[in-house]
């Protein structure tokens, strides 16, 4: 974790820096004798953790926190135990260390900060995974040198037309220079099924099935004999 130290007392800054040498995951970037200098630094640098003194002249630690839009994690370092309750009003405050700080207590605070960091990373990873899934619902097709996004679930039919395929969606039809095989590989198997050598349908969009044909939207699509059993398997038959 990249850290900075803010304390108006040089002795305190030296002590915290020394405590940090015991924890390999901590990287002290800078230390500051006042909050104003730190604010300038934070505007230009990424910091994961701040060791912050509360009691500083002119601009207290709490004043400093309130200036930050997205504060990193903060460990308060102070001689004032009475501010502990106020400290817990801030989500960014991980721990509250009363000076003089002993190494075991310092290590415990860092463990808390690291545990919160790990949780944030897990949440971020879960969120990104959701984005990937969502982008997996899109299909980009090249038409006239433009990559056009098509929402996959909105596709109800793909028809082979020589060197082209026609992709039909609820809103629009797209004629794309490609093959049925290529698009079949890109479409999710649970939603789409090739029912004929020239047709892939979205199974959820079927209106009805009659003998060897399927009505999908307003299109009547032939079902080849070899593909019919697979189609029947996919239906929730009563």
């Amino acid at each position: 974790m990249n850290c900075i130290i803010i304390d108006d007392e040089a002795t305190a800054r030296a002590i915290i820096a020394q405590l940090c040498t015991n924890i390999p995951s901590l990287n002290i970037l800078e230390d500051f004798p006042n909050a104003m200098q730190a604010i300038k630094y934070l505007n230009q640098n990424d910091v994961d953790l701040i060791f912050l003194d509360i009691h500083m002249p002119d601009f207290t630690g709490f004043d400093f926190i309130q200036t930050l839009k997205n504060p990193p994690k903060i460990i308060l370092t102070t001689s004032d135990p009475q501010f502990a309750i106020e400290a817990f009003e801030y989500d960014c405050i991980v721990d509250y260390l009363v000076k003089p700080i002993a190494l075991p207590r310092f290590e415990k605070a860092i463990q808390k900060a690291e545990s919160i960091s790990n949780k944030i990373q897990e949440t971020t990873a879960a969120a990104s995974s959701q984005i990937e899934t969502s982008s997996g619902n899109d299909l980009y097709v090249n038409i006239d040198r433009r990559l056009i996004k098509i929402d996959i679930p909105s596709i109800y039919l793909v028809e082979a037309k020589g060197d082209y395929i026609q992709v039909k969606t609820e809103d629009k039809n797209y004629t794309v220079h490609s093959t049925l095989k290529k698009i079949e590989d890109k479409l999710p198997n649970d939603l789409f099924l090739k029912i004929h050598r020239s047709y892939i349908i979205n199974v959820q969009k079927i209106i009805d099935i009659e003998d060897n044909s399927v009505l999908i939207k307003k299109d009547v699509i032939p079902v080849s004999r070899s593909n019919r059993p697979e189609l029947m398997k996919r239906l929730n038959l009563l």
Partner: protein
């Protein structure tokens, strides 16, 4: 009466003599400055400012292992915030004790 000591600094250093020397030199530089500002404020009856000075000096007191003196400083800081100088003499004695100790380092 308790005496200043380097127990905390030694514990903190884990035997790193360079750090010990560095920290002591910082304290030797910072303490007289903070003490001078405190005396200036207390003599001018700047109670709030003097309380802030005592607050800062408290940390040095605790670093030097003066646990009882730390409590004296806490009480004195609170008194100053109420514009009272009760505890001043005792606090000043602590200041002198630390000054004497630092000259031995």
């Amino acid at each position: 009466m308790e005496q200043p000591n380097l127990s905390y600094i030694n514990q903190l250093s884990g035997g790193d003599k360079t750090f010990e020397e560095k920290l002591i030199s910082i304290i030797k530089l910072e303490f007289p400055e903070e003490k001078a500002i405190y005396y200036k404020n207390i003599e001018s009856d700047n109670f709030k400012e003097a309380a802030e000075n005592v607050h800062k000096l408290k940390h040095k007191i605790s670093i030097l292992g003066l646990e009882k003196s730390y409590e004296v400083a806490v009480d004195f800081e609170n008194n100053l915030l109420e514009k009272s100088t009760t505890g001043k003499e005792e606090f000043d004695n602590i200041m002198q004790m630390i000054t004497n100790f630092l000259t031995t380092l």
